[in-house]
């Protein structure tokens, strides 16, 4: 082909250029390199949790695929004939026998099982902590509301993935977990019994459930998780990552390191670090020693059993709910209908559904709840420091306390035996705490956040306490304060502090109920707010000769805001 037919203006000179040219002229790709090669990612240690979640998921896929080659999800009966002597000859399901074989007869099988289980525990934990990071820094605000919703879906999916996987070894412990699921399902009004029979393929435990959970665990749930991760990362690229406020960082820019080479190296290297740490844990710490539990049998159960941590809060709720009040009141109601009497077991339904419903409804709806209260429709690419959103931070900590009380309740028997206290007392205390705890947590956290904001104000206005005490000529002792530089100060003063919105009456002088509610909510969020230091205040404090010590004047100015 003569050069006259093609007019090539780009002639690659380097080897990389030749490869790129070959690929790009056939399938394209230089656009991707241009888009991502030097894309900027802001850096902050809290941005790492999402990475941990992603990497543990990859590790789960790798180890999980290995396990599928040896695991057999059959509930057919067999007699164990493997290397673990104490169980030899025992009647069990093929699923349990193959799980034992993976542990004892496949080289590296135990390691892969433990790595898979530890990675699953860390996956659920990192997803949860990542969500908390996003919540406490306000990263869910416009334009990232949908991505927050995707995150909420991923939380639920990670719980589902964990639970379905937990049940697969078909050991005594996981079988009891399924039994509890069966009991909870049967409590659902009208359709519960049918749901249970359809899920288990007949009466509990049946011969179907393990195979069905297996398909959910290795196919359906991971596929949906992958899809959600894809949507999630697409939106991260679309929005560009949020960043903490600070010198040089604005709502209209992104400051950080380019993907190539620094960010890619750090993030890529971090994958190996997560993998390495999990491998070290799996090497040294036993998780779920199924050989100790024996095969599933509806009759025995061992005391002190615990679900995996992420299911604990639901199990704890089941434990805390009283079945009866006093001598005459049951939470199980017998409702007479024309065709007979039906049973409504609120003692099971309420703890199984209500806490989860509260937590997840609030989670999904929070971006819109907060936007309604603040009436803030702006785009937010700068994060909040948690102290600068005291009410949100308070709500978040209240949620954590609510969750943790329920979680602790899942260990009520272990708490009682370990600390030699009465099991009943532990339960009574936790019952009270589940209601009181979140309220106290909100109040305390909000006050701490406000106090930290005031401290920031002091530092911005008067500088850092140096600890040097100086005696002035007229005898007064003062502590020398060292003013902070512009960069440091900017970190302390660059935040929004919305004011309480007072509802305004309409032309008839009436305030609508919705406006009243909004006014209440706004006060709930922003009363006692602390305003950021303004340049004027700073100037005033410098002119003030008692500037080194927070004077009464400053306190007044804080209080008046």
């Amino acid at each position: 082909m003569s050069s006259s037919t093609t007019t090539q203006t780009y002639v690659p000179k380097t080897r990389v250029g030749k490869v790129t040219d070959y690929v790009d002229s056939r399938v394209g790709g230089s656009g991707i390199v241009k888009e991502f090669g030097r894309k900027i990612f802001p850096d902050h240690w809290t941005f790492m949790f999402g990475e941990v979640a992603l990497y543990t998921f990859v590790i789960l896929l790798i180890t999980g695929t290995f396990l599928t080659f040896f695991y057999d999800p059959s509930m057919a009966e067999t007699h164990y004939n493997g290397s673990y002597l104490p169980l030899r000859g025992v009647e069990m399901s093929v699923a349990y026998a193959s799980s034992l074989d993976i542990s004892f007869d496949v080289r590296g099988g135990l390691f892969m099982r433990q790595l898979h289980h530890w990675a699953a525990l860390l996956f659920a934990a990192s997803v949860a902590v990542h969500m908390l990071r996003v919540f406490f820094t306000g990263a869910f605000r416009r334009p990232r509301e949908f991505n927050w919703v995707v995150g909420c879906v991923l939380v639920i999916l990670s719980l589902a993935a964990g639970f379905t996987g937990y049940s697969l070894p078909d050991d005594l412990l996981s079988g009891n977990g399924l039994r509890i699921i069966d009991g909870v399902m049967k409590a659902i009004p009208v359709v519960g019994t049918y749901l249970s029979f359809f899920l288990f393929g007949g009466e509990f435990p049946g011969t179907m459930i393990i195979g069905r959970l297996y398909v959910l665990h290795i196919l359906l749930i991971p596929a949906v998780i992958l899809l959600m991760i894809g949507i999630h990362l697409f939106m991260v690229v679309l929005h560009k990552h949020s960043q903490f406020p600070g010198p040089g960082r604005t709502n209209t820019n992104v400051v950080g390191y380019p993907v190539g080479p620094v960010y890619a190296a750090k993030a890529g290297g971090f994958f190996f670090i997560v993998f390495g740490i999990l491998a070290a844990i799996a090497a040294a710490f036993t998780i779920n020693p199924i050989w100790n539990y024996g095969p599933y049998d509806p009759s025995p159960v061992s005391a002190g059993t615990q679900p995996d941590w992420y299911i604990g809060w639901v199990d704890g709720a089941l434990r805390l709910m009283p079945g009866t009040l006093g001598d005459n009141f049951d939470f199980e109601f017998m409702i007479p209908f024309p065709w007979g009497v039906n049973a409504l077991s609120l003692n099971v339904l309420v703890p199984a559904l209500v806490p989860a419903a509260i937590v997840f409804t609030l989670m999904f709806a929070w971006p819109w709840i907060e936007a309604w209260v603040t009436k803030d429709k702006r785009e937010h690419h700068l994060l909040d420091r948690p102290r600068n959103a005291p009410a949100r931070t308070g709500v978040g900590v209240a949620g954590i306390v609510f969750y943790c009380v329920l979680w602790a309740a899942a260990s009520s028997d272990l708490i009682a035996t370990h600390f030699l206290v009465s099991l009943n007392d532990v339960t009574y205390w936790l019952r009270a705490l589940v209601f009181i705890g979140p309220v106290l947590a909100f109040m305390v956290t909000r006050r701490i956040a406000l106090a930290l904001q005031r401290k920031d104000r002091e530092i911005a206005l008067h500088g850092r306490e140096t600890g040097r005490i100086v005696r002035l000529p007229h005898g007064e002792f003062i502590e020398v304060h060292e003013p902070v530089d512009d960069y440091k100060r900017y970190k302390l003063v660059s935040f929004d502090s919305p004011e309480v919105m007072v509802p305004k009456p309409d032309e008839n002088g009436k305030i609508s109920l919705l406006d009243k509610v909004h006014g209440r909510a706004s006060r709930f969020f922003f009363e006692d707010r602390v305003a950021p230091v303004t340049p004027k205040e700073l100037e005033a404090s410098h002119n003030d000769h008692h500037g080194e010590i927070a004077g009464a004047k400053d306190r007044e100015s804080i209080a008046s805001h």
Binding site: N253, Y257, F275, G323, P535
Partner: protein, 342 residues
């Protein structure tokens, strides 16, 4: 893309100096702080040292991989748990070093030797507003051209069809399981069925049951039935003997026990765990899953915890040979409540 070097981020004018005619209600962004060179940026020896450290970390990774293979090939499993532990430790630590060596090495490389200048890139609108107007117009044009608004007959029939069409996709799951029928209301227990030990299946004489003892019981023949686990999940029973004085049977249930021997369903009425703990001194039965506590002296009434119903009692008697047998099935469904329980 704008490659703004951080060292160019000149601090803004001093914020404490008032600019005339300008409202000073917010601090000006001082820009990026000046870049501070790292040790390896200034000192070639430090740079060389960092380079060697990275290479050393990569070598540690190689050693880790070798450790893995040492464990895999030279620590054969021999049916002892100690050997398995050793192998697991070597495989795990080998993998850990192999991964950490690479990971820490790369991160160390990035942090010490790759450029650490922060770069600024501007954000853009996610989509220009003009695009939104265009999109709105396109969607409206599409809707108009399709005529779905102008032809309600088509719209409504399509809506009806679309609502019905997924129903087979739901209905086809009907055969996931049989209908419950009466299966939850009956167990293997019946008049004359012997109480036998779990799991051996040997029958129990009344004289075997001393005061204070407790037996885990299954119905005779359970081990031979085909759907053994399903039957067992309903039929397991706890058998205990108390001083007859301590039992307080309600009217009609006086002869459900035999000389202080009573049998109760072992399946918790909360969510179905086995109520496996018997407190001999207090005569309480405790469910280890959610701590429901039942009082044997009050016909297994709930005295604590989340269960709302007493454990069902199995009426028992003694046959001609002195073995304990059931007088009938349970008089109510066992285990967790369900809607049809009534």
């Amino acid at each position: 893309m704008i490659m703004a070097d951080s060292s160019n981020g000149a601090p803004g004018t001093s914020v404490t100096v008032a600019t005339p005619g300008r409202e000073l209600d917010e601090f000006e962004n001082p820009g990026l702080p000046p870049h501070r060179p790292r040790l390896a940026d200034r000192d070639p020896r430090a740079e060389k040292r960092a380079e060697r450290q990275v290479a050393l970390l990569f070598l540690i990774s190689v050693l880790g991989t070798l450790l893995f293979f040492a464990g895999y090939f030279f620590v054969p499993l021999n049916e002892t748990i100690e050997r398995l532990r050793l192998q697991n430790l070597m495989l795990g630590l080998g993998t850990a070093f192999a991964m950490l060596g690479i990971g820490v090495g790369i991160v160390h490389w990035a942090k010490t030797l790759m450029p650490d200048h922060e770069v600024t890139e501007s954000r853009h609108e996610i989509r220009p507003e003009k695009d939104r107007r265009d999109a709105e117009k396109i969607v409206n044009d599409i809707l108009d051209e399709s005529g779905i608004k102008r032809r309600p007959l088509i719209r409504n029939t399509l809506l009806g069809a679309a609502l019905l069409a997924p129903l087979p996709a739901i209905a086809i799951f009907r055969d996931l399981g049989p209908l419950p029928g009466n299966s939850l209301k009956h167990t293997m227990w019946d008049t004359g069925v012997r109480l036998t030990r779990d799991p051996s299946g040997t029958p129990i004489r009344a004289s075997d049951v001393t005061i204070g003892s407790a037996f885990h019981v299954i119905p005779e023949g359970l081990n031979e039935v085909e759907n053994k686990l399903e039957e067992k999940a309903k039929a397991v029973v706890l058998l205990m003997r108390l001083d007859p004085e301590e039992l307080n049977p309600s009217p009609g249930r006086e002869n459900w026990g035999y000389d202080g021997i009573v049998a109760y369903s072992k399946i918790c009425t909360h969510v179905g765990c086995p109520v496996a703990l018997y407190e001999q001194q207090t005569h309480h039965l405790l469910c280890p899953c959610h701590q429901s506590t039942f009082d044997l002296e009050q016909e297994c009434e709930v005295i604590f915890g989340p269960a709302a119903r007493p454990l069902p009692q199995l009426p028992i008697e003694v046959d001609d040979e002195g073995y304990l047998v059931a007088s009938s099935d349970f008089q109510e469904p066992v285990g967790p409540s369900f809607w049809e329980r009534g």
